[in-house]
Every structure is written in C-alpha cells, then in structure tokens.
Symmetry: C2
Subunit: 147 residues, 2 copies
C-alpha cells in the first residue's frame, strides 16, 4: 500500500487561528501570539501555549530551541493549508452540487479584480470540455441522484 491516502492530522479551528498569526508574522514568539490572539479571542495565555504545543506535536510548527522567547515558524504554508482545507471540504460533499456552492461563494466573498479575471480565465478554459451534468456521488453504488 502506497502512502497516497495518508491522512495528516487536522488543524483544528482554534489551532487555525494560531497558525494565521504565525503565517502573517513569519516568525513569532509565544508572547506575540498571546498578544495578538488576545485581540480576537478571549483565551488565557495558557490556552495559546497549549495550542502551540499541539501544533508542534502535529508537525505544523517548529521552534528554534532557545530556552526563553523561542521563535516559532510554520512548517506548512498558509496556501497549501488552505488548499487542502478546500479540497477536503468539497471532496466530502455532493459532487453534483459543488458548482452551486462555488457559485454562492463567488457571489458572497470579497474578491479582487485580478482574482476574478483569473477565475474567468479558468472557467472559460474549462467550458468547452465540461460535461452537461455532474453525477451525484451521494449514494454508494450506482443508483439515483440526491435531490
């Protein structure tokens, strides 16, 4: 069995908040994390420390080993984490309705001109070879689409 379907440990919601600070600062200390997160969450310093600890254990953060005031940095880029999260979500939902969800997101999310242009390009390139219908994959086996 190859390693292809190896499932990395998830970044939990709270952990995600920590990662975003690290990704933004590039490199950070526990204190800085506590300071920033204090503006967004109501966490005690201990909570942040626990989260950092877990993220290191899961392999998403490392530190420089200095005994006081360690510098942490991410072992995964924000972009790949985001892509993975996106893939993950969509791969577990009904394929037939993915388009609808995407369209909704395109409508609701703030997007830059450039993003929009890129996406139009992507879609236009895709259009010619697109199928009439995407099959529903909700029911294991062959039978019926979801409503």
């Amino acid at each position: 069995m190859t390693n292809v379907d190896y499932k990395k440990e998830q970044i939990s919601n709270s952990e995600w908040q920590v990662m975003r600070i690290v990704w933004s600062l590039g490199q950070t200390t526990t204190n800085e994390l506590i300071k920033y997160l204090n503006r967004k969450e109501t966490w005690q310093p201990s909570t942040v420390k626990t989260l950092v600890f877990r993220l290191e254990k899961k392999g998403y953060l490392t530190d420089d080993g200095v005994s006081r005031g360690r510098k942490f940095s991410a072992l995964i880029s924000e972009s790949s984490a985001m892509l993975e999260a996106g893939d993950n979500l969509f791969s577990s939902m009904c394929a037939m309705k993915n388009g609808m969800v995407l369209n909704h997101l395109l409508e609701e999310l703030e997007l830059s001109k450039k993003d929009i242009e890129i996406m139009i390009g992507t879609l236009e390139k895709k259009l010619p070879n697109a199928a009439k219908e995407v099959a529903c994959n909700c029911l294991p086996g062959e039978e019926g689409d979801c409503k």
Copy 2:
C-alpha cells in the same frame, strides 16, 4: 443580544455521510442506511444507529415515530448544509487568499457546462466593482498582511 450569531451544532464527518444518504433517498430507514453505508464505510450497524440518533438529537433528522422500521427524513436541505459548510470554511481563512483557493477548486472540481456559465456570469457581474486588493484579515488589528 439577537440570535444572529447563534451557532448550530455541527454535522460531523461521519454524520455527514449519513445525511447524504438521507438526502438522496428523501426518506429512509435505519436498515437502508446500514445497507448503503456498508458499501462505503466499514461501520457496524450499531455505528449507523448511533449516528442517526445523534443527528436526531442535533435536529437534523426526524422520524415518523413508527415503532419498527421508522422512516427518517432530513430537517435541513443538502444545499443549505453545503452552503453553510462552505461559508464556514472560507470565513475562517485568510480573506486575501480566498480567491486563490476558489480558483484552485474551479480548476480541480468537476463542473457542468451550466455551472460554469452561471459562474462566469457571476464573476463578470462582479468584476466592475471589484477592488484591486482584498485585505488580509489574519492579524487582529490593523497591521500587515500574511505572506
């Protein structure tokens, strides 16, 4: 305090699998669920029963109260569940990179001609008013974008 930010209980991963069958069949029994899920998961019948029980408790499923062979049905549509899941994911990630993730999904996911056309329409309508840049909202407070 209004109810606006009331947080519904999450549908967990395993529960999601159950819901997909219910959504597809419109109405179903425990046995049918066990039968279908048996093709996708390696769950024991008990596992399915637990999942169904939890989904009823969380308010996502109801049954017709018949003592044997109850019929279950969903209390939430698959579409709204999916939309919610999508919103949820994207609202917790970096706004600046949302476009990139969406583009990746547009590239990778199977989409129907019609979906694509709709989305191109959405994007074209959006383009004129789109900003040059979407600000990064990773750091609480004002300072700096994430990389």
